[in-house]
């Protein structure tokens, strides 16, 4: 870690705001926190007396749990607020909830919301550090950071790698954050999926858009598949999951095109047999479980760094 470096962010809203230096710093801190998780007493007093609110407007057991474990391991007081956006009387819920929460004087608010930009909006209404735990189809920075950490752990570096991301790029905040994160660290990101799920302008984000699954995966260091979400299918994007699995599903044969030691990743939860075949998801190249472990360490690092800046 460079001497004289100060983590310059009060909020973690997206990978877009983080420089390569910031990302490297977060990962180094996360690696040191990972060691805590291996201790018999998995707790440090770093955030004792701090109040952290998990404000989840979208159901997400994994991410919420991961942040909660991270906060508890650092001795912070955590509160979970699950709000619903379905009753959204034109968004009043977000501001109203934000104002009510302010009364609890939180130090950090971790927000998950179905609308892109909701965390940005929250920064204008509350005086806490905001961590984006996934907003709409925009960003999911802590997921990208744990993916970067997992790859760095296995490869020892993050530059000069070929990362293949396959699937619903359009609706995936994980894909957006990973495209930014991996390209910023000096790797090249190759994306492929049905044209109906590839938004315009991906090249401007730094990705290379491929015209076949083979082109994307060939000699890749990482093959990442994305969850095809059933709830977004009111637009005729795909004829069927069956055809998706046949044309775009990542099978053992597809993975064989990548480097022999390529890592298979998925942000979870996996639709086994649709975007990723079970033998691949559970195969020797899969690091899906490491992703979960590293999630806690990365989130501990984020909590630590934003608190250091308030």
């Amino acid at each position: 870690m460079a001497t004289g470096y100060f983590f310059p962010h009060r909020h973690i809203l997206g990978m877009d705001h983080l420089s390569a230096e910031d990302i490297g710093h977060i990962l180094t801190i996360a690696e040191s926190f990972k060691e805590i998780s291996a201790r018999p007493i998995k707790k440090v007093p770093t955030l004792r007396g701090n109040t952290i609110i998990n404000l989840f407007f979208e159901p997400s057991t994994r991410t919420r749990l991961s942040f909660e474990v991270a906060a508890k391991r650092m001795s912070a007081d955590t509160f979970n607020i699950s709000a619903s956006t379905s009753s959204a009387t034109k968004g009043e819920t977000l501001i109203d909830t934000a104002r009510n929460i302010t009364a609890m004087r939180p130090d950090i608010i971790i927000i998950r919301h179905s609308h892109s930009g909701a965390p940005h909006m929250l920064t204008r209404y509350v005086d806490a550090a905001i961590i984006n735990a996934g907003d709409g189809t925009h960003e999911h920075p802590s997921q990208a950071l744990l993916d970067l950490m997992t790859v760095r752990e296995h490869r020892g570096r993050l530059d000069g790698l070929k990362i293949a991301i396959i699937g619903d790029i359009m609706h995936s905040r994980v894909a957006h954050s990973n495209i930014i994160g991996f390209t910023r660290m000096g790797s090249s990101v190759h994306v492929f999926g049905p044209a109906t799920l590839l938004p315009p302008g991906l090249e401007r984000l730094g990705a290379t858009v491929c015209s076949s699954l083979g082109e994307a995966v060939r000699d890749a260091d990482v093959v990442m598949t994305l969850r095809i979400q059933k709830e977004r299918q009111n637009d005729p994007l795909l004829p069927s999951f069956r055809e998706y699995a046949r044309e775009y599903g990542v099978t053992r044969d597809v993975v064989a095109l990548a480097r022999p030691d390529a890592l298979v990743m998925h942000p979870g939860p996996v639709n086994r047999g649709i975007e990723l075949m079970p033998d691949v998801a559970d195969g020797p190249q899969s690091v899906i479980l490491d992703q979960v472990t590293n999630g806690v360490a990365v989130r501990m690092a984020l909590l630590y760094l934003v608190m250091g800046n308030s």
Partner: protein, 425 residues
Amino acid sequence: MADNWLIKNGRIIDPKNGIDRQGDLLVLEGRIAAEQTPVPASARVIEASGCWVVPGLIDMHVHLREPGEEYKEDIVSGTRAAAAGGFTAVVCMPNTRPVNDCAAVTAMILERARQGSARVYPVGAISSGSRGRKLAEYGELKEAGAVGVSDDGLPVRDSQLMRRALEYAGDFGLAVISHSEDPSLSTGVMNEGEVATRLGLKGIPAAAEAIMVYREIALAEQTGQRVHIAHVSTAMSVELIRAARARGVRVSAETTPHYFTLTDEAVEGYNTNAKMNPPLRSARDREAIREALADGTLDAIATDHAPHSSLEKEVEFDLAANGIIGLETSLPLSLALVRDGLIDARRLVELMSTGPAAILGLPGGSLGAGEAADITVIDPDQTFTYTEDQVVSKSRNSPFLGWRLQGRAVLTMVGGRVTHDCRQA
């Protein structure tokens, strides 16, 4: 008391009468006097040196929100904003509550407008309730004072209904104003493109507008009727209109200052004051709109003034209402086109006064002798910062707040009555 004025030493620009001269303009009893008319002693002097004296500006596309949403704007506040922006007349869209689809609502708007600071010309609905199913009663709307018909805010989905509207409106000499948007394609919240992808916001493709613009052109061509395209935002639409006019189709079109000033980059930071429909487009689209204003493909600059309160705007971007206020910034933003050398002063007056009057058959747009004295005096050099505390509209939803603007209406006069005066003493 007779409204007698002598507007002195201005640059009088009146494209309709082929006039661009330095001199004085006399107003006698609320009407423009012929040149050489002796000046009565009662005439009060308005010093206009360094200023342009032009026929009163006409905004052919505003939302005054009355009846029904008076917390956002009403006819009195909206016309006051109009006067402050140099407008002597505004054309108000029918998407009020209730919808202006009958003589009673039209008459109510005109009655309320008598307390206003600008002339108000209501547009009636194309379809009953703007529900897109059956024609509204154009005969009674026309008789009550409607100057055109539109289901603005909503596209007319049904092509047969649109065809019948063009034909039937033709019988009454009413312009049909099309809000051109294919609703099946426009399910997003901002322009489709790189910025939308980056922000994770669902895009509205340019084709959503162009497809309906072409439908209106095809229907106008088929029936021989005329159609007016509201708030053109894309290069594709401009191309279609240009080609249609070249082959003689009776299509006219307007754009707004935000489409020739801003791009979708303005949405950055989830700025809900940059959310409108059609959305702000790409730099290429903006360039095409600017060219079309210069080459005559577009006939008018309108504002699509759409007031919303913080209830509709201080929310998640996806949930925010579409639209921005525009009456008070339209003239300075349009004057920038003159400074950029894209159009001359005469063309500016055509786009903001003569053009709209001609499309809708309104009085005004002329400084000819005997016309009502609807006059705007413009100081093209005065600069000001547009801040919240000086907004005259009831609403504050402008992406131009904080902008340093150049050029403004220093005096606005409707029928010889001064409705706005911010001349520096």
